[in-house]
């Protein structure tokens, strides 16, 4: 082996022996460090994957949804307005959407009931999301009673359970014929929940939205770009989940790095004095401390990131599950698709490995530059 490499390996050997002399302390340090990286990386992976999924799935969402507001609340939309909106130049299609919420008193879950005109849907039958089937413990061809506006229950047969792979959008869905939705909620024939508008040219959407507001001042157009922005904002770094977890993780890491940076133990200072009196240069001592810091920080970074990846993408972020469930009774089960971002992995590396390595070097440099005799006597 070439002499310079041999020198590095010898110093690495010495650094490892030095770490192993304080085995308990360094193992605890490595565990806490890896845990901090694990928590931050889990959160970053989870949030990135959800944001990516929202962007990919909502591509197919309507170009614009038009709601009607009455006294500041969302109110059903007269179908006559759909015709008027359809007549606006640039509007390709207007689809009235009929949907609402159904609280299941037996299981305590909130379902989203939606009308579909799919020709495959049999009369008096419903299609349900996999989350609904799981919560109600029902399967295809079972009968489900739904309580109508008048307190009377209506039996529906489950014709289909929607694919589990679509749970991220359909877990709580109950799809039924428009007439059944109207009968269940006593929804008047001439109203819809809102209108889904498709534009021929998406660049005309702001103009179309302005024309709709001019035509119906009580309407509220929500553009697809706003839907996407909502999800960007929900999972933004300023988001509650991000702030709470990141703040505690970063704070614990700062305390931990500060503890390292504020100085060396008397034993370590004495060790540096002995090394210097044996003929080690200050540069050698710094190299030794650099190796000690690098071994701990790189191992903690790699193991923390690997564990975080397994946690989020193999175990569906089970540690975050309780925080995400909140008070929901019906919770979707989804397998997230990894959306790793090289930029974030690099930032995480520089935020965790570099400060720690620097924090170990600074006190060592101070100790290495003092007189060996004074260092040993201290």
């Amino acid at each position: 082996m070439r002499p310079p490499l041999q020198r590095y390996r010898n110093i690495l050997d010495f650094a490892l022996s030095s770490l192993l002399r304080r085995k308990g302390r360094n193992l605890a340090l490595l565990s806490v460090y890896a845990l901090v990286v694990f928590v931050i990386a889990s959160l970053v992976f989870f949030v990135q994957a959800l944001k990516h999924e929202a962007r990919e799935l909502l591509v197919q969402a309507p170009d614009m949804v038009v709601q009607r507001l009455v006294a500041g609340r969302h109110d059903p939309m007269p179908l006559a307005q759909a015709e008027a909106i359809r007549a606006i130049r640039g509007v390709a299609e207007v689809q009235p959407r009929l949907w609402g919420y159904y609280y299941d008193p037996v299981y305590g879950g909130n379902l989203t009931v939606m009308a579909t005109e799919d020709a495959d849907l049999a009369p008096d039958a419903i299609w349900i999301g996999a989350g609904v089937a799981r919560t109600m413990r029902v399967k295809e061809s079972d009968m489900v009673p739904l309580r109508g506006y008048d307190g009377q229950s209506t039996l529906f047969s489950i014709q289909k359970v929607l694919a589990e792979s679509s749970e991220l959008v359909s877990a709580d869905l109950v799809l039924m014929a428009p007439k059944d939705v109207r009968a269940l909620f006593h929804f008047p024939e001439n109203l819809a929940t809102d209108l889904a508008v498709q534009a021929g040219n998406p660049r005309e959407l702001p103009t179309i939205a302005a024309k709709i507001v001019e035509l119906y001042p009580d309407s509220r157009p929500i553009l697809k770009a706003e839907l996407l922005r909502t999800y960007e904002a929900v999972f933004d770094w300023r988001g509650g989940l991000m702030v709470v977890v990141l703040a505690s993780a970063v704070l614990s890491f700062i305390i931990f790095a500060w503890d390292k940076a504020t100085g060396l133990s008397a034993e370590e200072r004495k060790e540096i004095g002995v090394l210097k009196s044996l003929g080690w240069e200050s540069a050698d001592v710094l190299l030794l401390k650099f190796w000690e810091g690098t071994v701990i920080s790189v191992t903690a970074y790699l193991s923390g990131v690997l564990l975080a990846y397994a946690h989020v993408f193999f175990f569906s972020a089970s540690l975050f599950e309780h925080a995400l469930k909140g008070w929901s009774v019906l919770f979707p089960r989804y397998r997230l698709v990894p959306a790793l971002d090289g930029y974030q992995l690099t930032v995480l590396f520089f935020l965790t490995v570099l400060p720690y390595t620097a924090a170990t070097l600074v006190p060592s440099w101070r100790a290495a530059t003092v007189d060996p005799d004074a260092a040993m006597r201290s």
Binding site: R9, L12, D13, L50, E53, L57, L58, Q60, A61, P62, V65, L69, G72, N110, T112, M114, G129, G131, L162, A163, S165, S166, E167, L168, V169, S170, A171, L173, D194, P206, T207, A210, V213, E214, I222, E226, L227, T230, Y231, A233, V234, F235, R238, G239, G240, L241, V298, L302, S303, L306, Y309, L324, G326, S328, V329, P332, R335, V337, P338, L340
Partner: protein
């Protein structure tokens, strides 16, 4: 065996696993396109607007469709009592639901 050999072997193994993780993520992302098809089809067919993440309240189930007086719709201190209220960020300012600019160029 020298300690440094063992240490380099462990670090090398972790680095190899890290590279395998990147390769796995890339492969999964490709497979994810196919796995997403049923969801995309539902979103297109039904005109869905939101992800089903939190089902406890209408403004957490459909944050993009929530009315203007739902929690966090107006200002960040409008706290609500649902735990997911602490997970959802306040909306951007100006609100994404602000009405679009009314200026419409009229044809002469």
């Amino acid at each position: 065996m020298r300690k440094s050999t063992l240490c380099l072997a462990v670090t090398g193994a972790l680095a190899a696993l890290f590279l395998a993780m990147l390769a796995h993520a890339r492969a999964e992302a490709r497979a994810g396109t196919a796995r997403r098809q049923p969801s995309l089809e539902l979103v297109r067919r039904l005109g869905l607007t939101d992800l089903c993440l939190f089902t406890e309240a209408r403004y957490t189930r459909h944050p993009a469709m929530a009315d203007r007086h739902a929690a966090f719709q107006d200002h960040p201190m409008a706290l609500d009592h649902f735990p997911s209220g602490s997970l959802l960020a306040p909306p951007a300012f100006p609100s994404p639901h602000a009405p679009p600019p009314p200026a419409i160029p009229k044809h002469p």
